[in-house]
Symmetry: C2
Subunit: 201 residues, 2 copies
């Protein structure tokens, strides 16, 4: 097959896949997890039911793919913030705030969704989630290492350990009542990263 033709097929497949994921997300938000059927997804995505089954065997597989897309989009968002201009300390603060906001939004979304709690039970954390967690940890670790080299944060604890601290501490944003509380959480978490016994910081 000529290259152009392959590209077109690939682009078409991707578009169908994306449409199915978007339709599923919308239907789950409206009806909850247990109320969504393959036929509804096909209708909402504007494709045939038989076509949908060529892409995904069942609703669970679509939800899993949707979850993977969510995680990847968060990673992209955080990486873009990390790679902005500016000194490492500022970028660190921005990335921590963005991550706390993601955790806060995610929890708020689940609270509003009557069947939200079932999602975690339904989606066995697959290889892609473990991989995304690994990427996230590496991204935080590199940024913390840069900030430590610049003298912006403590260097008596390894960047890898500090990355674990940040990622865990900020998941608390999911249990907080407001955006303002999430910001305070970031301030407290950042205070933990400061160089000890350094009155200038």
């Amino acid at each position: 097959m000529p290259k152009l033709w392959t590209d077109t097929i690939e682009a078409h497949r991707e578009a169908v896949r994306e449409a199915a994921l978007d339709a599923t997300a919308a239907l789950v938000a409206e009806h909850g997890l247990t109320g969504v059927k393959m036929s509804q997804i096909a209708t909402k995505a504007g494709i045939g039911r038989a076509t949908l089954y060529k892409y995904f065997p069942d609703v669970e597989a679509i939800l899993s793919a949707w979850h993977e897309r969510q995680i990847r989009s968060h990673l992209t968002q955080l990486t873009e913030i990390r790679d902005q201009d500016g000194d490492a300390g500022d970028r660190l603060e921005k990335v921590l705030n963005a991550y706390a906001a993601i955790q806060f939004q995610r929890a708020r979304h689940h609270r509003h969704e009557p069947h939200g709690a079932e999602l975690a039970a339904l989606l066995h954390p697959g290889e892609h989630v473990a991989q995304a967690q690994h990427h996230l940890h590496a991204m935080f670790r590199d940024l913390l290492s840069e900030a430590a080299d610049a003298g912006d944060i403590r260097d008596d604890v390894s960047p890898g350990e500090l990355a674990s601290y940040c990622l865990h501490a900020l998941t608390a944003a999911g249990s907080l009542p407001s955006d303002a509380a999430a910001h305070r959480l970031v301030a407290v978490t950042l205070a933990g990263l400061r160089r000890p016994a350094d009155p200038a910081h």
Copy 2:
């Protein structure tokens, strides 16, 4: 029935229950979660199989009861440390260290257990886990409130929010490689609790 007789029955029931939980924990540590049968548990606990079924319908129910007992014992341990003599700041540091050690030990236990990862999937977090989490949060909150009143920690963020921060940050101990790393995590977490812009702390 006379009171003494009731007490004796109650004590006997409790002893049988405890023996079943201990036997299950030992068997799971040895064979993994999927390799344990009711008949093995009965033999190991030194009771009849029919008797075991009078207490628990299946292995899952025993594991769930065992999990509840674990959580309760952790809560008791932490509460005892909190209620020791001494100023609030010192007791806070001790409770944080004890909680980090629990997280570290728990994760290490699961790592050594081939079927450990399945436990979380098998045990749907029931009402008792949510309740224990609530107790844990309240215990941390009260101690943080006391420490803030004593001037040992920051008072610009509410004790409830700081409790969420501590509990989440310290779960990172489960992903750390050593006891020493868990201690460093406690030091970093404590640094986040310090009063900002106070060179004396």
